[in-house]
């Protein structure tokens, strides 16, 4: 099978998965006992009002046509209005998504620059002291409840040391005296583009703790994946040859071995993104970070179906898309990997 047709097949499968996901999401909201019309009409609505809401939402139509309307609207980027605020959901998502992406990108960056080198170091002496300590470290990172460690970080860095702000994206002073002009919607990036250094410092300081919290699990993941991939590479012959030629340990590790272990490391990128996407929900709640996670949490508490549905769908599409890109990159970097 040619690469192109394999690629198309993979793309098609990705699209099918997305359609199935949208069907499941849709069915879940329709088949469960809670009546969306009653929620839409509000807690003290009369029976007539609920019936009116049912008509307005199109809930009286057959399920298939309801789904087609929903999917058609969603394709055009229209997720309807929030039950709680009556605001168009798409506009809300467009407003909150950049903040979440900013957080995820920062966390992924931390995971890669901390996790991968540690994984390489651990692989230098398999089963050595350092390898075992780093293994414990990685597992500990995977066992920490993120929402809890976020509060502990606030306690240490805000309350005790007073080095970093408690929560939010920028401080009130910045908002008043050197507001960030919104271009991409990502605070630090916008401040950089507009050379608003005061605001950049502030936005950056606000980003550190949430990004660090979000990166803990991915750091452990990157460490373990890199360690695993390196372990397999280190016993290969070209590494033995490199050793025999008297190359230094660090050259061997970082120049030769890591290059061969790069494909699993790419997988780390995909996985990291996945975990950050959901980890962000909790982190944003604790740090009052105005992103999708905080948005969906507020929606959950208000049983705001359309919002929960839209965020689940958008999150899943992003997730599936990233996984597709990762597979693609792997196939391009490593001829042994086939798209199938």
């Amino acid at each position: 099978m040619g690469t192109l047709s394999a690629l198309l097949r993979r793309l098609l499968m990705t699209l099918v998965v997305i359609v199935c996901v949208s069907i499941i999401t849709f069915l879940a909201t329709r088949l469960l006992p809670t009546d969306p019309a009653a929620l839409y009409a509000g807690p003290r609505a009369s029976a007539e009002k609920i019936d009116a809401a049912r008509l307005a939402l199109g809930l009286d139509k057959p399920l298939v046509s309801q789904y087609l309307t929903f999917a058609g609207d969603a394709l055009r980027g229209d997720f309807g209005v929030s039950f709680r605020t009556r605001q168009p959901i798409s506009a809300d998502i467009a407003r909150f998504l950049p903040a979440t992406l900013e957080l995820i990108v920062a966390a992924m960056f931390l995971a890669l620059v901390i996790g991968i080198p540690l994984g390489v170091i651990a692989a230098a002496r398999p089963e050595g002291k350092l390898d075992q300590v780093l293994r414990l470290f990685a597992i500990s990172l995977a066992s920490i409840p993120g929402f809890w460690v976020a509060m502990i970080l606030q306690l240490v860095f805000f309350k005790w040391l007073n080095w970093l702000p408690l929560s939010g994206r920028v401080s009130t002073e910045t908002m008043l005296f050197s507001p960030i002009e919104s271009i991409t919607g990502m605070g630090t990036v916008d401040a950089l583009i507009t050379r608003n250094w005061v605001a950049f410092r502030d936005a950056f300081a606000h980003l550190i703790l949430p990004a660090l919290t979000l990166s803990l699990y991915p750091i452990g993941l990157a460490l373990r994946m890199t360690r695993g991939a390196m372990g397999a590479v280190m016993s290969e012959r070209h590494i033995t040859t490199a050793r025999a030629m008297g190359l230094s340990q660090s050259t061997i590790l970082f120049r030769f071995a890591l290059k061969n272990a790069i494909v699993p490391v790419l997988t780390v990128l995909g996985l990291t993104f996945a975990f950050s996407l959901t980890g962000a929900v909790l982190v944003e709640v604790i740090f009052d970070w105005p992103g999708l996670g905080a948005y969906v949490t507020a929606a959950i508490l208000a049983v705001d179906f359309p919002v929960i549905m839209a965020v689940t769908l958008v999150g899943t599409v992003i997730y599936v898309g990233i996984n597709f890109l990762v597979d693609l990159a792997q196939a391009m970097l490593d001829p042994r990997v086939r798209l199938s």
């Binding site: 066992s143 409840p145 179906f305 599936v320």
Partner: protein
Amino acid sequence: MRHAAPTHRRPGPRPILSLWGLDRVGTLSFVVIAVILGCIALAPFLTGYPEQGLGTPGPDRLVAPSSEHIMGTDRLGRDLWARILYGGRLSVLLAVLVVSLAVIIGTPLGIIAGYFGGWVDEVIMRVVDVFLAFPPLLLAIFLSALLGPGLLNLVLAIGLGWWPWYTRIARAQVLSYRQRPFVEAAEFMGVHPVTIMRRHLLPFVGTPVMIQSTLDLGSAILTVAALSFLGLGLPPPTPDWGQIISEGRVYFPDRWWYVTFPGLAIFTVALAFNLLGDSIRHSRESEHSRATNHEPS
């Protein structure tokens, strides 16, 4: 990279006892888990305030840790140590239920997919793909938001997104034993497919599924805590670790104990399960690499 299946000298299920070829860390975490399970089982004897553990308000609110209340008290004056002990019962119970549900749904599907192959396999594995397409936790949040609070709903919401992993494990395992003579012999003799799957294939699936479920208990405890922190857990006054932290958040950081101790409890239990699972896997992998290193490559 994963190897398809460990090379056994003789075909036959590995005796369960050989699982305990654990290293020091594994043994230690096993002991820790045993102690924790003992503590939550004996909860009424380990605290002076069992009724507060279950939810009855106490007289002294938000008291700092002292000899009377070693972990302090919460906003309703309940002894935090008692709350954590009783909360542990629920956390462990929920985690076990979630993983059991995932195993019960996932394993048979994986065995069926692997045994029959063809379109059956295709259909099951595409369904698996769709469920794995949801970012982890997001599906659980979505479902539990829809299902509403309650013990069974919480288990359902998390378990429904968890089973595909077991389907994958079981299927991979069955695929590697599917063509073995003893399976084919059974087929020739006209043994019913259900009997073949149950008697001849299930034993090989058991061990990897058991290892995975140990590893998953840690994550399940974390997931349950996360959901109940978000307000999707059991309604108060049921003691629940995630919920205690969410209550204590209002008083943080001034009443530091309120959040710190339940968090430490979650961390300890999750860490113990993760270490145990990892060390079981580790010991099996090194066993495997020892076995393969002797073969000429």
